[in-house]
Subunit: 458 residues, 2 copies
């Protein structure tokens, strides 16, 4: 048991009024965007410096207080929920852009910097931070969950763009991993170890990310497809042809229906592909035309592409609002959950078909939407609020879908992560490699104070 008063007193020495235990603040930091129950931390701290984080960890290590780092709290699998209580470490006050090295195409940021904040800062540089998970997540949270999103097919995931980290270890020691060199062979890849560890191995306090040059030209296109299968097959061919497409998203009929309801639009309610091309003026034109031929082969209709930025913004705003739009699929109070899997591209068509079959079997109200170019898709599920029986069916659906991904040599999550929602599948996914992860966890965090209850089954 935590000595609440004693811990609070010691935290106050480090943070003054920047640690709180009010019911309201604890409740706010106990919420999530999925259906996981509220999980209240005992304290909420707002550190401003690495040194403060180090002192907090040193203290919590000594007193066995669980610590769960939080960013924008937009995680979908409950990664940021302090399910064992203890301290919620709200990193959003550590939101300085430390340096932008334009000529090296990299930036150094504190973990609370959001991707939109960084891109706003970069506006005049001709550079941009390419990873785009939709939500305006913090870069620290994105690193911790190995986030990706619509642009990963071209620009990679957080695994690919993070060059270096500063991390506070479980006992408060501060380390720096990596460098600003573009490649390195100088010992263990600690950077990759912390990326996707969901705060269970250390607290990320600084991130060096690669940036990309804003392409000379960009064009977006949308295309109606006769069926999801045709849409997926067009994606598979696009990838297999090696087209350097910047985004390629699948929307099924149900998602388009949801968009129409949400944004009062009147798109034909059929499967669509939304794509974006980046490159020189000529290359964008070439890509658009080549893609037009591919979708034509699979019966694509109404293929239009546009270089106008309003058109593009309209399209991607719509895509980014999918989580809200999905709520329209069902009247009355609802709970919402999005599950994702990722499979080798040749299996994508079968995987999506399997998702529909499972949806039928479990009676799900859902739509399929996804980053098809990576073999990654989401099932957006809407259930009656608080209906535990339906929630259990949705969980069974998600588990079965993940098992199909495993059988296809894919992954139980392409980008949402493990959190609480997929811990029960970790053994099936990893077999004995899960023990290896546990060995690393025990070595790095022997007291188990870093985000307990995540990644590993109890």
């Amino acid at each position: 048991m935590i000595d609440h008063g004693g811990v609070m007193q010691e935290l106050r020495v480090i943070l003054g009024e920047r640690v709180q235990d009010s019911e309201a603040l604890r409740a706010q930091h106990g919420e999530n965007e999925s259906w996981y129950p509220q999980a209240l931390p005992d304290f909420v701290a707002f550190p401003r410096t690495t040194d403060e984080v180090s002192r907090i960890m040193h203290l919590c290590h000594r007193l066995n207080v669980p610590v769960t780092a939080q960013g924008a709290r937009s995680a979908i699998e409950g990664q940021h929920l302090a399910v064992h209580g203890g301290l919620a470490l709200d990193m959003t006050n550590m939101n300085k852009i430390v340096a932008v090295h334009e000529s090296d195409l990299d930036a150094v940021v504190q973990p609370g910097v959001t991707r939109e904040q960084l891109n706003a800062e970069l506006r005049t540089s001709g550079l941009f931070f390419p990873v785009d998970p939709g939500a305006n997540a913090t870069i620290g949270g994105m690193a911790s969950t190995r986030a990706s999103g619509t642009t990963a097919v071209r620009y990679g995931t957080m695994r690919d763009v993070v060059l270096a980290l500063e991390v506070v270890r479980a006992d408060g020691r501060v380390i720096r991993t990596g460098s600003r060199a573009r490649k390195s062979s100088n010992g263990y890849d600690l950077t990759s170890l912390f990326i996707g560890a969901e705060g269970t191995l250390g607290i990320i306090t600084e991130i060096t990310v690669q940036l990309s040059g804003i392409p000379e030209a960009q064009a977006a296109a949308i295309c109606r497809m006769p069926s999801v299968e045709d849409a997926v097959n067009a994606v598979i061919m696009t990838i297999q042809l090696g087209m350097p497409i910047a985004r390629i998203e699948l929307l099924d009929e149900k998602s388009v229906h949801a968009f129409n309801l949400y944004a009062d639009t009147n798109m034909p309610e059929a499967p669509h592909l939304m794509v974006e091309f980046h490159g020189s003026e000529r290359s964008v034109k070439d890509q658009s035309e080549a893609f037009g031929l591919v979708v034509e082969e699979f019966g694509g209709m109404d293929f239009t592409w546009s270089k106008r930025s309003e058109e593009r913004n309209r399209l991607w705003t719509m895509r980014h609002n999918s989580q809200y739009a999905e709520r329209m699929l069902r009247a009355g109070p609802i709970d919402q959950y999005s599950t994702d899997i990722c499979v080798p591209i040749s299996k994508l068509s079968d995987a999506v078909a399997a998702a529909y079959e499972l949806g039928e079997k479990y009676g799900m109200t859902m739509c399929v939407i996804g980053h098809a170019g990576d073999g990654n898709f989401h099932c957006g599920i809407v259930i009656e609020a608080g209906n535990l029986e339906e929630r259990a069916r949705a969980k069974a659906f998600s588990d079965d879908l993940a098992r199909i991904a495993i059988r296809m040599d894919g992954t139980i999550s392409g980008e949402h992560g493990v959190g609480m929602g997929k811990v029960n599948l970790m053994r099936e996914q990893h077999g004995d490699a899960l023990d290896t992860m546990q060995v690393l966890k025990s070595a790095m965090d022997p007291k188990g104070i870093l985000n307990p209850g995540k990644i590993f089954p109890a």
Copy 2:
């Protein structure tokens, strides 16, 4: 002390005649391509299956026998030398290409498959394995040393192209890391942990690698530059402009001199850039022309580009033979050593200038050659055979150069690795993060039997 006879007897049960302890075989497996002294293992084993490797590790773990995996033995920093004796695990008999998934652009190979072997197998598929360190290394060795080479600027390093591994742990347990999905957020990134670990955390027994489509068109070009500084500045601008160049190599005057001596050619003895463009016919033409304008700006002369494959092959064969050509820089019996660093691209010009200054200071016979597009370059050093005083100067040169890389927020090795040659710099590079690496090492290999003497200072 190892009970030689007893260990041999038990190894024979597993491997029959495929374990040997003859002086000749031990000597052969104790050689290296740098100046590190011969280091004889006590035994040399040639496993054929993962199960055999597992049984060997189980045995060696029980009996505290050091195990050093070996591939083509082309490592430059002595990674494969069994400096503490024990067992050299020659993986070259595990050389099956397990599967090629053409439609997913990946292949599954045993660790003893060489990159040339894999590319020969892929010849009719329209795909290729893009990582090219020069030597015909094994894929297992390349994974273990996080190899890269001339094409990394476009296609990435082993860190980027390895999707999944099968690994035998120190005690013989077999795990599988990763999947064939293109991205994943499903727990710790074990794959990245083993990439570059130089066999100190486990024995890699299977590798799944991403492949790339052979581009529709390729062109190579070579260009004479007024000075190394101009050459480097042309590279920096090329990278900063975001040109998707496939290779961009710097050769200094001395390297060209060495090539002329080695291949009896008569290139003008001045700095050169060697580049390659991949893409569509049109894109290759566009890239070549754009690059031509860049080098022109920095005084480039005799810029010629060619799509003819004989021309391209001639050029890259020359580049790949640099290690042999460098031997011509000095008459009489010589020892040879190549050191490498990698810095943020904006520092490349300063780093190369510093290398020349240090070369003067330490009286080195050397040339500079490198993967300039990554900010990575090599100093090829030739010393009088067996001259220990000169060797000590060369080591001091290499250490000082590495320290300059650290000061520039770069790395002590971009691709050659740590091995024995850079262990003394690991603390300066990583600070307290080296302790974190040691924590992982102790957790994964508590008896310290996996390639002892590497990565960590004694």
